[in-house]
Symmetry: C2
Subunit: 226 residues, 2 copies
DNA sequence: ACAAAAGTGTTGTCCGTACACCCATGT
DNA sequence: ACATGGGTGTACGGACAACACTTTTGT
């Protein structure tokens, strides 16, 4: 067998949504290379650990974040992406609900922070590319799978959902048509509770009915938002 | 840095289309484990080689195939997928036109062959899973990108394209609507040449106009076949 | 003349889009 | 009473789906 000394890492692009902003979770590197640069959370995979387990462990260790959605994104393997060794990074794409946004600046004295995707700092390695890939994935996936709900609180206002779509897809959406479309899917539960945001007419709260979604999906229903 | 001894491999699912059948390129393993089983072409990545270069090299070495389309599929990294070592496999998805179907049974005395996807043998490792992932990708991608043309000869009959869609998507398609839809995209060139298949009315040959497609795509056009 | 595949047009239905006014509340 | 955001209905047009007969060739 060929001698090979390539390291395998995982990195995660973790998205959060708050105050009408799409945010990404970054950590400040405490060691060289790229010391003091911001980077995606991640690290080397352990010998007997699945890739998913590695991502979850690293996220826990480095950020203490609780993940609501996780899927593999892409593997980056250009020979010189890490100046030290040859490292292949299997990257993941994660979503976090607002109730899980609390993070730690942990014991390793690494800083951890949420950044508005519109105001990103310079990133270490090829993490900018990874992040852009993830953003595209988020945008396209939002239109054909109900992953937006993993960026909202369990109970949410229709206007929140609508703003989330506008923010992430970076375009205007007609309020009436959007509501009609989503409601026609029959995957939301309208709660009795109303919420007053201080001014304006109080709004109804909704909940995503996951069970119902999976049932409909099995029957051939396709979630699809233009 | 953590000690880590994980190997990185690439494997490719190579699809071809001939005689109304979707075929996959497999090699017969000449060594243990899974000696004499059929497997996807692939192998370990070399120290200073990009992932894509590794796939291309392995395909050349093992099958001598000429690839018309290549994209990364998914990375498989379950700890015990290879009984010898921990191996992460970054898998690729490839398409080959009929004019490039000729392959070699090479010097290593490995057999190489095309298999109808409906009549697959047992596969080594987790290659069955990989193949199923690739098939799904092919099916979905066929509907939103013009990759079907990378499975046909440069000049083809409309009926070939239609049969290809029916074969891969495993469903009936209305001839008239399909033709109207595809022609409306304005990405095909109708040639003067006609071909007689022996019986029936001779048909016109068509060519995919790649340049035109990319131009339209840049202008916001979306290829889309239900 | 018959068999086989190619080529073509119309109609109805459904879905997407555009668009504006009233409602419930807080100040 | 005014400002703010929430909630709703209609009409038009374009795209998709369903559908059958004629044409050109080989035998």
């Amino acid at each position: 067998m060929v001698r090979q000394n390539i390291k395998v890492a995982v990195d995660a692009v973790v998205f959060g949504y708050k105050d009408k902003m799409l945010n990404v979770l970054l950590i400040k590197r405490s060691i060289e290379p790229f010391k003091n640069s911001w980077a995606l959370p991640g690290g080397l995979v352990l010998e007997n650990e699945s890739l998913e387990a590695a991502v979850e462990r690293e996220l826990k260790e480095e950020t203490n974040a609780t993940i609501d959605y996780l899927e593999q994104l892409y593997s980056f393997g250009t020979p010189n992406r890490d100046p030290r060794n040859r490292v292949i990074s299997v990257t993941y794409f994660a979503l976090v609900k607002p109730e899980h946004h609390t993070i730690k600046a942990d014991t390793d004295a690494k800083d951890v922070a949420w950044f508005d995707i519109q105001k990103l700092p310079e990133l270490a390695f090829d993490h900018k590319t990874i992040l852009e890939t993830a953003k595209k994935r988020l945008q396209s996936k939002l239109t054909y799978e109900p992953i937006g709900f993993d960026l909202l609180t369990d109970k949410f206002l229709f206007s929140d959902l609508e703003k989330l779509y506008m923010t992430i897809l970076e375009k205007e959406i007609d309020r009436r048509n959007f509501r009609k479309k989503i409601l026609s899917f029959d995957i939301l539960e309208e709660l009795e509770e109303k919420v007053s945001e201080g001014r304006g007419r109080p709004a109804n709260l909704f909940k995503f009915n996951k069970k119902q979604y999976f049932k409909l999906k099995k029957e051939g229903f396709l979630f699809d938002i233009k």
